[in-house]
């Protein structure tokens, strides 16, 4: 699944919303609910007890198992995108309707099919590149 070159690990995924993005990884093995879980005016994760609580999604590449909760969460992504506070890309293990809808209406590059183990292997803050055309996630090590 992943091809190791010297300092980059590449994951082959499925590109669901086209586009390219680069940024810091924000990784969690827990799903995220955008409705109620992320403040639409700041982009900060506010879900109590979530391991990413207090961090902002703005400009980050969010790597999560999937989204959760009502499809209304798609509107929160839309709001964030209009204010320049949305993630630059989202990468999921298995996409859900809310995240898919949110990314399409907001133009956020989206991949699914990243292996679940990757959530443990990819470190928060590592530099990653996302290619929504080819469905590639590249993680720069070190």
């Amino acid at each position: 699944m992943s091809k190791r070159s010297r300092r980059v690990v590449t994951y082959r995924c499925r590109g669901l919303v086209k586009g390219r993005a680069m940024g810091e990884a924000l990784v969690s093995s827990r799903p995220i609910s955008f409705l109620g879980g992320v403040d639409p005016s700041s982009g900060v994760i506010v879900e109590r007890g979530h391991d990413l609580e207090g961090l902002s999604v703005a400009g980050k590449v969010l790597i999560i198992p999937h989204g959760k909760g009502s499809t209304v969460g798609s509107y929160v992504l839309y709001s964030l995108a209009k204010r320049g506070l949305a993630p630059s890309a989202i990468v999921t293990v298995k996409v859900d309707l809310m995240t898919l809808t949110g990314c399409v209406i907001s133009g956020i590059t989206l991949l699914d099919g990243v292996p679940r183990e990757a959530l443990a292997d990819i470190k928060c803050r590592s530099r990653v590149e996302v290619d929504g055309f080819k469905g590639l996630l590249k993680v720069h090590l070190g």
């Binding site: 669901l16 009502s70 499809t71 209304v72 509107y75 839309y78 709001s79 309707l97 209406i105």
Partner: protein
């Protein structure tokens, strides 16, 4: 991806920006979950209408679509909003909420969506026929139209149902095909529902047991349309499947599970009434005219207790008929509040820890327990009305 000429034009933006954006969304869904194709639909039903649910983000999205020229291509109806448009004061609505809710409704009307404001569009002129492909959101209405009316719809979300309305298409997903709708588990039911609360509870328990599979229910007598409406709503609240089957000649290839009285009882005990109710809520899903007639019959010459709010919700189309028949007057004279356009869950009504909500809807009980701090109880309709009136 195989698209028709019209669909390609929509995607290019030849039919306007709102239509192009809607097309983009449907194609992404068709790619991720479906067969990479779209299907023409006869109607759409749109959820996510209440400002309480969608907030400023949802309002913003709807406004952008309306301002970029969106207009429906098929019959499209609206789910309930945050208050009865003729009696907003009953729902603790402040000025900001009022304005923004009215704006959401106005924008949707501008795009040609009918102001039905009900979760029972099938009582309000959006009545699919057997075999129709439709794109509906609102789980109770989805389950009802698939399982009772024989229409074909997936469980759309608010945005995808709106996109479907603006293009006249839905993503072709398994729920739109006969293979994708085959029952996946047989449920032997050893329980006889006696009233609406029982029917809702049964649906809820079945959905809890196998929340992802399409069940074939065995041992359930075909109920009335209203009874099946409650079965659908309860099932939709706990299951993510698009439908259930009551009868099917070929049977079912999946496993077999049994549901008996004890399981129903254990859920019911969780929602038992231990204190006097402060709110009695009936009408989830919205009441039919037949239900309102029998409620009026029960309330005739009775008085609702002053420390209880008896809230009965319905659609505006049924409400109008209830007014003509004098049913509304009987309920009003008793002190009951017959309202339309909304329900307990999507309204901003303040409910505190000291409130006790008694309802005959498993769906309302399910959502109220996560969305309010009040105590929740489930009781039959008779019980609900008896608790609400002076003895």
């Amino acid at each position: 991806m195989r698209l028709t000429r019209t669909e390609r034009m929509m995607l290019r933006g030849d039919m306007g920006e709102a239509c192009r954006r809607s097309m983009e969304l449907l194609l992404a869904i068709a790619d991720a979950y479906g067969y990479g194709k779209l299907i023409k639909i006869r109607s759409a039903h749109i959820s996510g209408i209440s400002y309480k649910n969608i907030g400023d983000s949802g309002l913003e999205f709807i406004r952008d679509l309306a301002e970029s020229g969106g207009f429906v291509r098929v019959k499209a109806t609206m789910n309930p909003c945050g208050f009865d448009l003729d009696k907003p004061w009953l729902f603790d609505v402040d000025e900001e909420f009022y304005k923004k809710q009215m704006e959401i409704v106005r924008l949707l009307k501008l795009m040609g969506v009918e102001e039905t404001l009900t979760c029972t569009p099938y009582y309000a002129g959006n009545n699919p026929r057997e075999g129709d492909h439709i794109a509906w959101a609102e789980s109770s209405a989805v389950i009802y139209s698939n399982s009772v009316l024989g229409a074909y719809t997936d469980r759309e979300g608010g945005p995808s149902a709106l996109a479907a309305a603006l293009t006249g298409r839905a993503a072709l997903t398994p729920a739109h095909t006969d293979e994708g709708r085959m029952p996946e588990v047989k449920v032997k039911v050893h329980y006889k529902p006696r009233d609406y609360a029982d029917w809702g509870l049964l649906g809820y328990v079945v959905g809890m047991r196998e929340p992802r599979l399409i069940p074939l229910l065995e041992g359930v007598k075909a109920g009335s349309r209203d009874e099946l409406k409650y079965l659908s709503a309860g099932f939709g609240a706990s299951s993510s499947a698009p439908m259930f089957w009551l009868k099917r000649g070929e049977g079912c290839e999946g496993g077999v599970i049994e549901v008996d009285v004890s399981e129903v009882k254990s859920v019911r005990e969780k929602w038992s009434l231990t204190r006097r109710p402060t709110v009695v809520f009936i009408g989830c899903p919205h009441c039919s005219l037949k239900e309102l007639r029998s409620i009026a019959e029960e309330l005739k010459e009775k008085k609702v207790r002053r420390d209880v709010k008896l809230l009965i919700s319905t659609s505006r189309s049924v409400y109008e008929r209830a007014v003509k028949e004098g049913v509304e007057e009987v309920i009003r004279r008793s002190g009951g509040l017959l309202v339309k356009d909304t329900c307990l869950i999507v309204s901003p009504m303040r409910l505190s820890k000291s409130d006790v909500i008694l309802t005959d809807s498993a769906k309302t009980a399910h959502y109220a327990q996560t969305m309010t701090r009040a105590m929740i109880a489930l009781g039959g309709r008779r019980r609900c009305l008896r608790e609400a009136v002076e003895s």
